[in-house]
Symmetry: C2
Subunit: 352 residues, 2 copies
């Protein structure tokens, strides 16, 4: 086996390279202004002795960088265009900053870049990760898992292998959808339609399930597929009116979808809420207040979800550090339930 | 001095800790499922032997993580609210992704968090940094400099110590401003006002300088201070109309400012461009097309600036790796000029 002595010091590197301590320090910390030949000698000595700079050694032992990665399974353009991400990030940023942890947002152009994100996570640059907006068959959770960093997911991951060791924060999407449709039914509406979100996301699938809980008999003509954007809401609303001109209510999977639906209803001469009542989901501001008329919607605490994701992760990391134990300890029921589901509330404005 | 042998191996750690190679590997890579007592023994052996995991050792020698930090000297909320950042990031993201580099966006709540950003940069987690939106007396450039990472700045930094070793990308703010004011003067306007940006940023200061180049005699009554937001544009426009009701043209420091000014002009019954001609700066879409009437403005290639910042940084890093030389080599005039200033063009729409 290899002979090993005690940990090599900065002094040892300086002596081996025949330079001053200050020069070693400058090279190791990537500072400028060291002559190439000198820098090369220092680097060779570092390699030969297996010297580890203090900051790297420290983080190897405590394994804390005071930095947390945030990964959204969406391209950079979408992350910046969708107010949902901005709001969730606001909560995450506040919580991480309050605990002096650096928010490290890893952006991508698309799914093909997820392997690189996995490599960065595995590279020991962050203490943990917050991952959200997962889609079905997304390779990202697997990459995060093999990177071996403690992770909290935003939204219930859609995994069918019976795993129960995943920490996530979600809203009660199904219960919230039920309350929206109950409200519409309570107004005496009988032809209630639903515009879904992208059904490869659990949030959209759960809202559709809530709609079906209350209206098990709704025919396929009363359900149209959207994509959580206002353009998708417009397209779906046109489809629904063509198929079922007599519909008298719409539950839209989110507020942007509802905003698009409202534009088409006005364009087709339907009065809201007199002819058609509309309920959205999110209570995304200012969108929900600025629709014409202002939107009745199911409120979820998006910023609060972000804060809670960050809090659960930091708590798990603290526990891990304190007990020198595994992150799994933070995932036992006594520490934090694997899934935390936050309640929703119906906000009454003018569309229903 | 300290006795030092050759670089300790994974096997040596396994033998010292009395565990298998696989267990050491799992602990060192932060994987789950290793019993606490075992993990603790491994960590102690790692520390005693000064073992460096391969990936850390590799990056210590090659000093490449294939990751670049992006830092905006603005709070997280502003980064997500201002379309300027989104557009610059789009350029950066495309360029970094094309070269398989991870974009690491470091977000903060405010200036008090900049020391933490400096620590992360100094921690050896990225190869370089792109830093933008600097303000006068901002501690960030100093922190970035002492972190010792190669950096390209977005916008000309406002340093008065004669430094010429700073790589930055900027637009021709002064020349663009001159072309806007020349255009207004060419329309026969004689009482041309200017709404500035925040004058602690060089972009705003340079646009004011361009205005003064063309209208050296403009009195203080014709210049009002804004802040690059539409709210600031509204306030400044009211001030200007109160002070100088006969003004017949406005050069606004950016498009958001112009949008605010146009709202106030309409509210006060001024016809645009008949009574008052307006020119903005940025050609920020969709803002500039959606004002009423559509905005004549000075176009700068914001996304292109982002791409170029990333390209200059990566080129410097490649050169550094190839020559095993310092990043400064990439900053000599033959490699890349310290400051690259991109041209602007006047885009004619309906306000002037």
């Amino acid at each position: 086996m290899t002979e090993t002595g005690p940990r090599p010091t900065l002094e040892a590197v300086a002596e081996r390279a025949g330079v001053s301590r200050a020069t070693v320090s400058r090279v190791v910390n990537g500072a400028h202004g060291v002559r190439d030949a000198l820098a090369e000698r220092v680097r060779r000595a570092v390699e030969e002795l297996g010297y580890v700079p203090n900051h790297a050694a420290r983080s190897l032992v405590t394994r804390r960088h005071q930095a947390v990665a945030v990964v959204a399974a969406e391209p950079e353009t979408r992350v910046f265009a969708d107010p949902y991400f901005a709001q969730q990030l606001r909560g995450i940023s506040k919580e991480l900053t309050a605990h002096d942890n650096q928010l490290v947002l890893l952006l991508t152009e698309g799914r093909e870049d997820h392997a690189r994100v996995g490599r960065y996570l595995a590279g020991g640059h962050v203490d943990g990760a917050l991952v959200f907006s997962l889609h079905l068959h997304d390779p990202l959770p697997g990459l995060v898992r093999s990177a071996g960093v403690p992770t909290v997911f935003g939204g219930r991951p859609d995994w069918d292998d019976g795993r129960d060791d995943v920490v996530y924060v979600d809203s009660d999407n199904r219960g919230g959808a039920r309350s929206a449709v109950h409200h519409l039914a309570g107004l005496g509406r009988t032809r209630i339609a639903h515009i879904t979100g992208p059904l490869d996301q659990t949030s959209a699938a759960d809202r559709l399930a809530g709609f079906r809980d209350v209206r098990p008999g709704a025919g396929p003509g009363l359900v149209a597929r959207g994509d959580f954007t206002s353009g998708g809401g417009e397209r779906a609303m046109r489809e629904l009116l063509d198929r079922c001109p007599g519909l008298d209510a719409v539950f839209a999977a989110n507020d942007l979808t509802a905003a698009g639906a409202l534009r088409v209803l006005r364009e087709r001469g339907r009065r809201v809420p007199d002819d058609v009542a509309v309920v959205g989901f999110d209570d995304m501001l200012p969108v929900a207040e600025q629709t014409d008329p202002p939107l009745t919607t199911v409120r979820q605490d998006i910023e609060g979800m972000g804060r809670l994701m960050a809090r659960l992760l930091l708590r798990g990391l603290d526990r891990r550090a304190a007990d020198a134990t595994d992150f799994d300890a933070a995932r036992t029921p006594t520490a934090a339930p694997p899934g935390v589901v936050l309640p929703t509330t119906l906000v009454h404005r003018s569309t229903a």
